[in-house]
Symmetry: C2
Subunit: 248 residues, 2 copies
Amino acid sequence: MARSLARLVKGFQSITALPAVAAPACASLRSASLRTMAVPLPFSSKPRDFSLPNVSWGPEMLRLYEFYNNLCERETEGAEKRRGPWQRLPSYNRSLKYATGGVYLSKIIQSKARLFTRNMRNPGAAFEYVLFVNKEEQRCVCILQAGHLLEGPPGHVHGGAIATMIDTVTGTHASQLCEPVMTANLNINYRSPIPLGSTVLIESTLDRKEGKKTYISCKVTSTDGSKLHTEATALFVSISISHLLLGG
Amino acid sequence: MARSLARLVKGFQSITALPAVAAPACASLRSASLRTMAVPLPFSSKPRDFSLPNVSWGPEMLRLYEFYNNLCERETEGAEKRRGPWQRLPSYNRSLKYATGGVYLSKIIQSKARLFTRNMRNPGAAFEYVLFVNKEEQRCVCILQAGHLLEGPPGHVHGGAIATMIDTVTGTHASQLCEPVMTANLNINYRSPIPLGSTVLIESTLDRKEGKKTYISCKVTSTDGSKLHTEATALFVSISISHLLLGG
C-alpha cells in the first residue's frame, strides 16, 4: 500500500511544502467579499483555501487578519504595489493537496482522510486559523480562533488542541525552510489556560539549523501580547517523501 | 462569566476526576451485545459512555478491549467474581459530565462545547479509545484506533493528534492519583509515524509525586509492543476547581 503510494507521488517536488501566496493575491483579497472568498469553486482543480475569512470569524480574528494581510505588500514611491515582508500561507484539508495534482490524487488515495486541523465542515466549530510567514526575519505568525469543539477542562481549550496548533505552526515554518520535514520533538510548557472562543496569536521563530535538524521556538499569547498562554520548543528533521510514505 | 460558573459548580467534589467502573459493571458488559452498549439511553441522566465498543471498532481494538476487560475482575475459589487489578474508565463528551449533576449543567453551561477527543458524531472517524487503570501498579493503558480524520502527513496520524492522546491518557492517570490536575508540561519524542486506521497501545506509568507535582512517563507502541511510535514525559500540577474556572 505504502509502496504504491510512493510510486503515485514519484516526481512530486514536495508534499509538505506550503506554497506562499504572492502579493497580488493578497491585494485582491481585500477588495472582495469575505463570504465569497471562503467558498470553494465547483469543478475546480484548485483546492479550497481554509485560511481565508469565513462568516464564523470574530472581529479580533478579522482585525488581525487584515493587519498581517496589509503587510503582504508595500507601496513604492510611484504608488506601485510590490511584495511585502509577510506572506499569507494557504491551508488545505489534506497535506497531499499541496502537491501538483494533489487535488485529484486526494480523491483516489484514502479519499476520506482529512487533515486533523481542517476536518470539520461547520465553520468556527473547531480550529479557525491563518498563517503568515516572514522569511527575512525567519518568523511565522498564526492567528487562531478556538471553537467550542476544542474543549478540555470546562470552558477552556484542550492541551492537545494547543499542542496540535503548535505542531502545525512550527511544522509549517520548518517546511518553509527545508522541506519536507517530520516532527521529532515537541516540548510544551502550559502557563495559562485559553478560554474557548478566544482568539490568540501563535508566533514561531527559528532558533537554529544543524544539518537535517531545524530547531524552532514558539509561544501562544493573547492578541495584545500581555498574557502568555503556552511556550514550546520544537525539533524537525528533514526527510525524503519515500521515507514518509513507507512509514519511516 | 467564569465567576458565575464557579458558583454553579460550587460543592462539586471533582470535575476532572474520572470515576472508575466497578467490577460488576465490567462483568455485565461482556454478556451484553456490543452494539447495544454504545447506544445512549433516551431521557437518561446518565451520560453516554464513549469508551464502550461500537460498530466502528476493528478486530484488534475489540480483542484488546476484551483482554483488559477480563482483567477487571478475578474469580475467587468459590467461583465468586471479585474486583480485579484493572478498572475500565468511562469516557464522556465533556469533562463537566464527570461531576454530580454534570449532565444537566452541561446543557446550560456552554452547551455546544464538546471534549476535543469526543467531538465527532460519526463513530470511527477520529479518536476511538478506551482507558484502563491499574492503581496497584500505578499504570494506565489506553487502546486507540486512529480514524481517517486525524491525518497529518499523507496516510499518517497528525503529531498533534498523538500529543492529544498522550495528554488525555497521562492527564487521566494523574487525575486518578491527585484530582483535579492541569497539564504543566508535555515533552514528546516522535520515533515512528502511525498509519491512519491503526490500533495502538498508549501506556503511562507514574514516575514520582512531589507535593502538587505529578510526573508521568508515556509511550505509544504497536499492539504487540514491537514498534515504538512515540515516547513522552508529562508534568501535572494539582489545582483547585475555582482556579480552573477563573482562568488560572
